[in-house]
Symmetry: C3
Subunit: 319 residues, 3 copies
C-alpha cells in the first residue's frame, strides 16, 4: 500500500509523520502558515475556511496543551470542534478503536486530530479510512507514542525558517532525551528533508537510541563539543518520570551535564536561537537566564504553532 | 396533570418518552429529519435554525457517544452548546436537582438535554419547568435509567422507514437484554405506535421483564424460532457488567444462544436489515461477519441519528 | 507599581478586586450590564462585540457553575471559548504558573478568566502581563481563595440597584461565614464604594475575621438584632467542609442560630430582598419557605450575573 498521507494526486490526505513527506509539501505548509501568522494580530482572528466542518479532537492520551492549540486553530478557521477524551469513553466499554472511528466518521466528521500513547495508532486509523473509502475524513497525528509529532516538527521548521531564512547552510543541535522523544524524530526528518547539512543530537548514552547515524545525524555525548558553532539549539523536555530512574541519576546531575546555561550557549554562534517544545523544566534541561534570554524563541514557537496547525488543517480540508 | 410532552396546542414541548406520543408527532419528526440528512453531505453543514439558542447537555451519567451526537446536532443547528458533567459539579455540593435546573433556566437556557441514571429524572425536570411556567426551556431525554431513550427509538424508526418504506407489513425482532434496555422499551413504543403488526422480543428468561405481552409484543426464548421470516433485527448491547453475574453464565455461552451469526441471520428474510444501537460487543451479541456484512445498517443508524436529533431540537425550539 | 486593574487612561485593564475600584468604573459596568439584560430575552441572544476574540477559562480550582456563567457570557458576546482545567494539565507536569500564562498569551489569547484556590493568583498574573507588556490580554478574577470574587460582587450590586434604585439610604446585612467568604469581601467593598451608609455582617464569632470594623461595617453575633430594619439580606453559603468541624457544632445548630426563617425575615423591612450566591443549602443557612418566597431574588441574581459578566468582558475587550 502506498503512503497513506498522500492521495492519488500527490496531495496531502492525512498528516501522520514527516518521514518521507516531499519537501514541496512541507514548504507549502510553511508558506500557508505564513499567511495565517498575521491573522492572530487582527481585530477579528477568524477566517471562514472551515466553516461548517467538524473537527474531532480524539485524545486517547491526555494533553491539554496540544489539544488547546488544535482547538484554537480549528476555531480560528471557523470549524466546529468536538473534544473527545476517549479513555473515559467507549474505549472503556470495550468497543474497538476502529469501530469508534467508523462511528464518528458516520457522524460526517471532516477531521480527526489524534493523540495516542501507542506509536502507529494514527497511521492505523488513516489506513482504515482509506481502505474503507471514507475519504471525506482526514487524520492529523497530534503525537503518537515515541514515533512522531509532525505538527511540532513543522512549527519548529517554521520557526527556524523565520529566523534563519535558509536551511541549506545551518548546523542544528537537538539536545536531551532523544530516545523517548517523538519531537526529536519529527525534527530530524524535517531538517534533513529541507536540506540542513548538519544535524547533531546531544545526550547521554542512556537516552540515545541506536541507529541515529543512519538517520543522517551526528551524535555527541559531550554537550560542550556538540554546541560548538551551531545556529539552532532545540532543547527537549526531560520527562519527570525519567528522572531518578535507571536511565538517569538525578535532575541535578542532568543539569550539570546537559542543562543549557548561558556559558554553554556562548559556545554556539552568537546569533544562535534557542528552541524548546514546552513545557519547560527550568533548572533541569534549561537555565532560566537562557529561557528568558534574548536568544530564546520559545514563545514565538507557540504563536507559529497555531498558524502551522491552521495551515495543515486548511490544506487537508481543501484536498 | 396532562402529558407534559405536549403543550396546549398539542405541539411537542418536551421529548421524554415515545410512550403515548401521537403517530403524527413521530411522523413529523421523521419527515423533518429527512430534510436534515442531506445537510451532512453539504460543504457547509450548518443551518441557522437555532442561532443564538443555548443548549445545555446535562449529563448526570457519563455517555460520551450520546453527548457527542447531541453536541454535533446542536452545532449544525448553529446553537451554542454548554456541556455540563453534573456529577462533578453542584450535585456534589449538595444542591438539589431542581435548584440546579432553576439556576440554569435563569441563565436563559433554551434546551436541556438530560441523561440520568435514574428513570424519571427528565420527566421530573419537565414537570417542574411546566409547573413553574418556565416554558422557554425544553427538555430532551437522552436516556434515563431503564426507562426510555426516545431519540434512539426515533432514529431506529427513521432507519426502518428508510430501508422498508412502510411499517404496516413488517415483522421486527428485538434481541437481547430487554430487561435492562431503555432502547428496547423506546423501540417497542415506536414500532407499535407506527403500526408494525408483529414485534418480537427474543432473549433468555432472566433478561426478559414481565408484562411484555401487554405491550403488544410476542416473546421468544429460542432465537432460531424468533428470527424466522423477520424483516428487521434490532440487536441490543449486552452490558459488560451483566456478564458472569447471576443473570448470565458467560459471554461465550450468551453468544452460543443469542449471538447473531450469518447462519442465524439466514433464518430472517433475505432482505432483512440488522441494526444495533452501539457500541457493539463483537463476538458477544453479534458476529463480526454480520456486523460488517451487507445487511448491517449500523453506521447509517449513526448518520440518521444526527439528523433525527437535529429534527427534535429544531421542532422543540420552534414551538 | 500602580493599581494593575486600570491602565494609564484610568480604564479597566483587568478586573481583580472591587477594593479600590472607582465608583464611576463600577457604575459604568452596571449601566453596560443593563443593556445586556434584555439580550437574554431576544430570539437571537448573541451580540458580535467579541467576535474572533479568544477567551480562556483558566480554572485551577473546579467550579462548574461559575465557569458556565462565563462560558455563556462569552458565547453571547460571540467570542471563542477555551475551557482549561489546569489541575489536570501542565501544572501537574511541573510547569510554572507564569510559563503557562506566557504560553497561552502567545496563542493570541484576549482574555483569561481565572479561578484559583490561592488568594492573589489573578493579581500575580495581571501584574506579570503588565510587566512583560502583554497588554492585549485581560484578566478577570473568577474567585481567588478567600480574597475576592468581583463579578459576584458586581452582580450583587446590580441586583440591589435593580430592586432598590438608590444605594445611599440602604441598610444591608451579610449573614454567615464571613471568615472564608470571598463573596462577602467583594460585597463589602462594592457596597461601601457605592455609598451604602450601613453595612452589617452577622455571624458566629468563629466565622468572623478580625478587622471588620475597619472595613466600615457593623458586626452582629445575634441574627435577630442584626436583621432589624434592613433593606437587603445577603445570605452566604455554609461550606459543607466547615460543618462538624472545630468552628461549628453542626448544621442543625447553625440553622437554629443563623438560618434565615420566615420569622427572622419578618424582622427586616417588609420590602426587604433576600439574596444568595448559590448553591444553597436548604435547611442549613436558609429555609425553603424563604428561598422560594416572594422576597427572594436569588434566581434574578443568576440572570443578572450573565449580563454583568458580559459587561465586564466587553468593557475589557474594548479597552
Amino acid at each position: 500500500m502506498h503512503n497513506p498521507q498522500l492521495n492519488k494526486n500527490g496531495e496531502l490526505q492525512h498528516l501522520i509523520t514527516l518521514e518521507g513527506l516531499p519537501p514541496v509539501v512541507i514548504t507549502r505548509i510553511l508558506d500557508t502558515a505564513a499567511s495565517f501568522v498575521s491573522v492572530g494580530d487582527r481585530e477579528v482572528k477568524k477566517v471562514p475556511l472551515m466553516r461548517g466542518k467538524s473537527v474531532f479532537n480524539l485524545f486517547f492520551e491526555n494533553s491539554t496543551r496540544t489539544r488547546t492549540t488544535f482547538e484554537i486553530a480549528s476555531k480560528r478557521l471557523s470549524a466546529d470542534v468536538i473534544n473527545l477524551n476517549i479513555s473515559a469513553s467507549s474505549a472503556s466499554k470495550g468497543e474497538s478503536l476502529l469501530d469508534t472511528i467508523d462511528n464518528l466518521a458516520a457522524m460526517h466528521a471532516d477531521m480527526f486530530v489524534v493523540r495516542h500513547a501507542q506509536s502507529g495508532a494514527p497511521y492505523l486509523i488513516a489506513r482504515h479510512l482509506t481502505e474503507t473509502r471514507q475519504d471525506h475524513v482526514h487524520v492529523v497525528n497530534a503525537g503518537d507514542g515515541r514515533h512522531s509529532h509532525p505538527t511540532q516538527g513543522l512549527l519548529d521548521m517554521y520557526t527556524i525558517r523565520h529566523y534563519k531564512k535558509d536551511f541549506r547552510n545551518l548546523t542544528v543541535a537537538i539536545v536531551g532525551d532523544i530516545l523517548h522523544s517523538r519531537v526529536a524524530r519529527s525534527d530530524i526528518h524535517g531538517l534533513t528533508t529541507l536540506g540542513v547539512p548538519e544535524v547533531r543530537v546531544i545526550g547521554p548514552r542512556t537516552l540515545l537510541p541506536g541507529g541515529l547515524e543512519q538517520m543522517g545525524v551526528r551524535v555527541f555525548n559531550d554537550m560542550n563539543e556538540g554546541l560548538k558553532g551551531v545556529d539552532v539549539i532545540i532543547m527537549l523536555r526531560l520527562q519527570n518520570e525519567r528522572m531518578n530512574g535507571a536511565l538517569l541519576p538525578s535532575a541535578q546531575e542532568y543539569f550539570k551535564s546537559y542543562g543549557l546555561t548561558p556559558e554553554r550557549l556562548a559556545l554556539a554562534k552568537s546569533d544562535a536561537i534557542v528552541m524548546h517544545p514546552g513545557p519547560m523544566n527550568r533548572g533541569v534541561e534549561i537555565d532560566s537566564a537562557v529561557a528568558d534570554g534574548a536568544q530564546a524563541v520559545i514563545l514565538p514557537q507557540v504563536t507559529f504553532g497555531i498558524a502551522v496547525r491552521m495551515a495543515v488543517m486548511s490544506i487537508l480540508a481543501g484536498s
